[in-house]
């Protein structure tokens, strides 16, 4: 079973988790790092704003008004959070099986491409009850296939999934940009428009105040997926097998769980969930697959999963935070460069990565009554 001994990325951070999982009160060490990270990031951003000769309070005011201050802003935040929920869940699913999925970007692109093709190829009169599941399902399956490949290479050939998923991103993006030409509308880089039955309703159709926002039913799909992932991991035998492999591949193998099989399943599921992004971008927003639409959402999923501590609830919260930042960047662009928000994002991620270890250690010392 030498293959199972291959180093699993993520083991290190999990060890940090486990120590404090029981001895000290649960909520404090879990919530403290993200909260601290946010404070540190805000402080850093304030310095930058001052450097641009603006008042931080004024900028934050603009930021809040443009995001949670009105219905349109909220709609846009939710729209931007939706793909991050999918990619965050994708990374977390793999992580629970002890795997690091860096390939969500490629997986979601292939999935969205499949969604666009199937959505456009259906007969124009196809009812939504058939068209939507087919288009969304095609995205899931294509993403799952893209995830299963690195899973299988890891399981049976021992190739490290980090390297394979990174490389597969390039392969998928390059192949699609070539292959896509055969499917794109003339003189464009997008596929044909999906049939009416395959489009997801915009929220504006139900809530007039959200008119103009790109928010669609895909947000509900994201919420449902988060619940489904939680349920899978915590309540089913299939999820238990995944977690068992992630927590101790050797113990799992000893108990008769096939590590190779779980590796493929976990990566396929991770790819499939990433492939659902197409529902938001293709079915809910543009109406077609367009080259380069992903724009790094797959990689942001890693940060979302990290900040959300790989818990579906935490991932939704982290996706909302990043969605807010992304929308808020546009709102403050008139006074300060919107890149400040990207600095903010980066500082949050760095601060979480640093603080989760240190905060927990200190909390543990406080709890044991250390004098240090």
């Amino acid at each position: 079973m030498s293959r199972t001994r291959i180093g699993r990325i993520g083991d290190g951070s999990r060890k940090l988790d486990s120590g404090s999982r029981f001895e000290i009160s649960r909520s404090v060490p879990v919530l403290l790092p993200p909260a601290l990270a946010l404070l540190v990031a805000l402080a850093a951003a304030s310095l930058l704003v001052v450097a641009y000769g603006q008042s931080p309070l004024h900028v934050y005011r603009l930021f809040l008004d443009g995001t949670w201050g009105n219905a349109y802003g909220i709609g846009q935040v939710l729209f931007k959070a939706t793909p991050l929920v999918f990619t965050g869940l994708s990374v977390a699913l793999a992580f629970h099986a002890g795997l690091f999925n860096v390939g969500a970007e490629g997986q979601l692109t292939l999935g969205a491409f499949a969604t666009g093709l199937v959505g456009a190829a259906l007969p124009p009169a196809t009812p939504a009850a058939i068209a939507l599941p087919l288009a969304v399902g095609a995205g899931f399956c294509a993403g799952a296939a893209a995830g299963a490949v690195p899973g299988a290479l890891k399981a049976w050939r021992g190739a490290h999934e980090v390297i394979v998923t990174i490389m597969l991103n390039f392969v998928i993006l390059a192949e699609l940009s070539d292959l896509g030409k055969r499917f794109y509308d003339r003189e464009s880089v997008h596929t044909a428009h999906v049939v009416a039955g395959a489009t997801l309703a915009r929220a504006g159709a139900f809530f007039p105040s959200l008119r103009g926002s790109a928010l669609s039913g895909a947000a509900l799909l994201a919420a449902a997926t988060a619940i489904a992932v939680w349920w899978l991991l915590q309540r089913t035998a299939a999820g238990f097998r995944l977690r068992a492999v992630g927590l101790g591949a050797e113990a799992a193998a000893t108990a008769g769980i096939s590590v190779a099989r779980q590796t493929v399943i976990a990566m396929a599921l991770a790819g499939g969930v990433a492939g659902l992004v197409g529902a938001n971008a293709v079915l809910g927003y543009k109406g077609y697959y367009e080259e380069g639409f992903a724009g790094g959402v797959g990689f942001m999923g890693i940060a979302v999963a990290l900040l959300g501590r790989n818990h579906p609830g935490g991932i939704v919260a982290a996706a909302l935070l990043f969605g807010t930042l992304s929308q808020g960047g546009l709102a403050i662009n008139a006074v300060v460069p919107k890149e400040i928000v990207e600095v903010l994002q980066a500082v949050i991620i760095l601060a979480v990565a640093v603080s989760s270890a240190t905060v927990r250690r200190q909390a543990a010392q406080l709890a044991t009554g250390a004098r240090a």
Partner: protein, 503 residues
């Protein structure tokens, strides 16, 4: 005589759990002082506190009469206290000398003085009677030699007080003799030794004074010459032990497990054995002689290069571990932390491991209510403390963790039980229980393959004892012909040629 180390009213807490409750203890200079107790009694924690690895909630540590203001390993080393951990902390790629001098390297023109280090370490090893080659890479050393390197590390840093935590758990009988000779020499030179152990024969053989801990408190502290093993056990456990299980003649059944010519390149050489129902076949051997590979090949975790494994007559040589479990092969793995348990999960979830199908309803949904109820009952029956299905496996003592593994494997009602080092690092109370359970499996008519480095365990339980030496079964002795001397000789290869090899 003066005191080398003194603890006064030491309290150590882990979160809400108080592991050490006000322990006072004085260790005299130039003595070997044994600290005994069941697992979870707090002896390792106490030593870690003494060495500054865990903070004190109350109390004081004094070394050579002076209180330690801020206990830390650095401060302990500075005062001449060295610790040899149960699990060695060595860099395998470096040589013995490099490991020993690490952090205090002799330098020449700013570079590591390799020759100087080797000469110095070699002289130190010679002085203390620790046979080990300073230029050898640690990765190539046996467990016993690695332990000597750990001791050298402490001595190199000027330690005259040596703390050894369960030092003999991984050693063969001759290596234990060597270690004890070295410790006695250290004492005779005026050095001090604190020996943490659960083996009473060692306490009686080597120590001048013994301190008994139970549940974080000192329940006995007396000169060893005034103590008897029975009295110490009574103090440790708080009651008398029942002694080895009564040997009722179980019905000797059909062959349950048969292994023919099992070969794993580099580790196992044509091993053949048979276990019948109602029989315990012991496999004796110093660790690292092929036991791990034998277990893995029988359970399907490793593919054998040649040979056949049969369960109840069915050829399972190519079957998956899951298939073998389904056919009734239970497995108590030698490394319970890596193979036996998922330490981050609850006891209930650990009991679920390998029995998932029993608790799965339609659509893969787990029947959590039934699992919790069954887990509670199982933990109760096996006297696991705490018997709380939601407790994380990591929080249990070694003995209780092993009881959880055993509870799970026995709840499968195995036809063959493969138990590897089932009582390693387990306290006497739990050992008694585990032995009784293994014997119960035999009485029920199942076959037990008991792989152990503990001769006492094999002699108490096994019907026959096979000896594994360098990947080969060099002898299989019926219990009547097996005794410590004979097995000890076979295990070290000393008498391999004289023993009759039986099928």
């Amino acid at each position: 005589m003066t005191t080398a180390v003194e603890l006064r009213g030491v309290v150590v807490r882990y979160g809400a759990v108080t592991a050490v409750r006000g322990v006072s203890l004085a260790v005299e200079r130039g003595a070997i002082h044994a600290v005994v107790g069941e697992n979870g009694a707090g002896k390792s924690t106490l030593m870690r506190a003494l060495y500054g690895l865990v903070p004190l909630a109350a109390g004081e540590v004094r070394v050579k009469g002076e209180p330690m203001a801020r206990p830390s390993p650095e401060a302990a080393i500075a005062r001449g206290v060295g610790m040899v951990h149960q699990h060695f902390l060595l860099a395998e790629a470096l040589t013995v000398a490099e490991n020993v001098v690490l952090g205090r390297e002799p330098r020449r023109r700013g570079l590591l003085d390799v020759a100087g280090a080797e000469a110095e370490v070699g002289a130190l090893a010679e002085e203390h009677g620790l046979a080990v080659d300073p230029a050898a890479p640690v990765g190539a050393l046996s467990v016993g030699e690695r332990q000597r390197v750990e001791i050298l590390k402490a001595l190199y840093r000027g330690a005259d007080v040596l703390i050894l935590d369960e030092p003999t758990a991984v050693l063969s009988p001759p290596e234990v003799d060597d270690l004890f000779a070295m410790l006695r020499a250290h004492r005779d030179r005026g050095g001090t030794v604190i020996l943490v152990t659960h083996k009473l024969d060692e306490v009686m053989a080597i120590s001048e004074r013994v301190t008994v801990l139970r549940r974080g408190e000192v329940v006995g502290d007396l000169p060893t010459r005034d103590a008897t093993p029975e009295a110490i056990v009574r103090l440790m456990v708080g009651r008398d032990l029942a002694g080895p299980p009564e040997r009722g003649a179980g019905p000797m059944g059909d062959v349950r497990l048969s292994v023919e010519g099992l070969t794993v390149r580099g580790s196992l050489d044509r091993v053949s054995l048979e276990v019948r129902g109602g029989e315990i076949l012991g496999v004796a051997g110093v660790e690292g002689n092929g036991q791990t590979e034998l277990c893995e090949a029988i359970t399907g975790l490793r593919r054998a290069d040649a040979g056949i494994v049969r369960l109840d007559g069915a050829d399972v040589t190519r079957a998956s571990p899951a298939r073998r479990r389904a056919l009734g092969l239970g497995h108590v793995p030698e490394d319970r932390h890596r193979r036996g348990l998922l330490l981050d999960l609850s006891l209930a979830e650990n009991l679920l491991l390998g029995r998932l199908d029993e608790y799965t309803r339609f659509a893969s949904i787990l029947d959590r209510r039934r699992l919790a109820a069954d887990a509670a009952r199982l933990l109760e029956r096996f006297d696991v403390r705490p018997a709380d299905p939601a407790a994380p496996a990591r929080s249990l003592s070694g003995g209780n963790q092993q009881k959880v593994v055993l509870a799970r494997e026995l709840s499968l009602r195995p036809r063959v039980l493969l138990a590897a080092q089932p009582t390693r690092g387990v306290d006497v109370g739990a050992i008694e229980r585990i032995h009784a359970e293994l014997d119960g499996v035999r009485r029920r008519g199942a076959g037990v393959l008991l792989i152990s480095a503990e001769l006492d365990e094999l002699l108490a339980l096994a019907d026959r004892v096979a000896v594994l030496y360098r990947g080969r079964i060099v002898a299989t002795l019926p219990r009547a012909e097996a005794d410590r001397e004979r097995l000890g000789g076979l295990m070290t290869g000393a008498t391999a040629q004289q023993a009759a090899v039986q099928p």
